[in-house]
Amino acid sequence: MCFRKSIVILSLLACMALPLPVVALMLGLSTEKLTHSAALIVTGDVDDVASQWTADKKFITTTAVISVQQVIKGKLAEKKIRVMHMGGQVGDIVMRQSDVEPLHKGEKVLLFLSPEEELSGGSAFRIEGKAQGKYSIGADLIARKKGFSAQAADAPLDISLPLETLTKKIRAYVDEE
């Protein structure tokens, strides 16, 4: 029994220690900046994720389907939206790009979004500030973001806070607009 417990503890420790490596450098974006630059801010569930080559076969992009639960900023007629980001895996080939934090199927998220123009012509969304504009919402209702390296990392970037606090904060910035 003791051995079994050790295994569970070691496994949990291992999971906690798993890093989220990222590369490169971005401007640090405060919640206020993210709110003002995003056209749409939503919470929702990641229903599906699929990667594909771009039409010119040069890059891999990933499209996630999000079931929207709550619209915090902007207007939205649909209940499901598509969010695209650079990088992904097709077959055994993986492309990764700086500061892109992938969306994972089954994940609950809060996203700062803007229309994606380059690849979808505006029919899909992209995440503002890449990884900075994505919060994962845990079962503890804490919103956490990670996977980016920002200029002036000591700036108040709201890395981890209760979802309710974050939502109120965003709504206050929206009201200022």
Binding site: F3, R4, S6, I7, L10, S11, L13, A14, A17, L18, P19, P21, V22, V23, A24, L25, M26, L27, G28, L29, K58, F59, M86, G87, Q89, D92, I93, V94, M95, R96, Q97, S98, D99, E116, E117, E118, R126, G129, K130, Q132, F148, S149, A150, Q151, A152, A153
Partner: protein, 308 residues
């Protein structure tokens, strides 16, 4: 009975894997962090070298020298056998695509990348973790300089950092990491062109300079042979227990038997030896960790022997 043995196999594998993943992945403990595939394999170049072409168009004067110096900074780490090769200048702006040609270039990343100072795009094989292409693009929507200008980003500083990523080293965020080249933040005027010991330990871990020995595991069919390089012949179990410890044979039998005969097992072997240098370095630093590792390996050996 057989089920019990199988369960024990899995328990032992899970336990070993958990410890190794923990050792392999807690970058802060080692002072550096390595990028991994979705299944935990360390990402690296298949051979300890990578060549870069440099496109200085739209960059500040002195960019070529600055980037060449950055390449040389990593190559100069004597305890690593890795070398970056300067392949020449190029006019190609094909930054980011998987064409097998690594380039650095300057260019506007456009409105959608308005907050990105520099961008690294890299490609690898998910089954091996081997890199195939890595390109670095400096966003000219920001000011760049090579003369330590306080209002511009220093090309050499950012190039050394980005080339660390090209080696497969990841960003660090700890309060004790700020002096490191691989710290995940930079500001205009900041000059950080010299590697710290932890930065060097990162490249040494990935591409150790010592002579390599090999250990070979054979898949069940007997037709496929997986050869795993063991850096410098080091094995954390041997290090923790001592080279003459009688339990080492039990551990090796488990490695070459149950572990080597399953795909997850072979992956654990690969992760184990990939991270042997780092694990040994940590064991060397901490007697408490050595003691804990000794206890773990002894318990694991007994468990594995018990199945017989």
């Amino acid at each position: 009975m057989k089920n019990k043995q199988t369960l024990r196999h899995y328990v032992a594998m899970l336990c070993t894997g958990s410890v190794l993943v923990l050792c392999a992945c807690s970058g802060q403990a080692w002072g550096y962090q390595v990028s991994t595939t979705g299944t935990g394999l360390e990402i690296r170049w298949p051979t300890p070298s990578a060549g870069f072409y440099i496109n200085t168009a739209d960059g500040p004067s002195g960019s070529l020298s600055a980037i060449k110096a950055a390449l040389q900074t990593w190559t100069n780490v004597s305890a690593s056998n890795f070398s970056f090769a300067y392949k020449g200048t190029t006019t190609s702006t094909n930054c980011g695509s998987n064409d097998g040609t690594n380039i650095t270039c300057f260019g506007s990343l456009g409105a959608q990348e308005a907050n990105t100072l520099a961008l690294n795009t890299y490609w690898f094989d998910s089954t091996t973790g081997y890199l195939a292409d890595s390109d670095i693009e400096f966003n000219t929507d920001f000011a760049w300089a090579t003369d330590s200008s306080p209002s511009a980003l220093d090309v050499q500083t950012i190039a050394v950092h980005e080339l660390g990523h090209a080696l497969s080293l990841a960003d660090l965020y700890g309060s004790g990491d700020t002096a490191k080249v691989m710290y995940g933040s930079a500001e205009p005027g900041e000059i950080k062109r010299v590697l710290t010991q932890d930065d060097m330990n990162g490249i040494i871990h990935l591409y150790p300079g010592g002579a390599a020995s090999t250990t070979t595991t054979t898949a069940p069919s007997g037709t496929t042979t997986t050869t795993i390089l063991v850096p410098g012949g080091s094995c954390p179990a041997a290090y923790a227990l001592g080279q003459d410890h009688p339990y080492l044979e039990k551990l090796r039998a488990f490695r070459d038997g149950p572990l080597a005969h399953s795909a997850p097992g072979r992956r654990i072997i690969r992760i184990y030896y990939d991270n042997a240098g780092s694990i040994n370095a940590a064991l060397e630093r901490s007697s408490a960790l050595r003691s804990a590792a000794r206890g773990f390996f002894e318990a694991a050996a007994l468990l594995m022997a018990d199945k017989k």
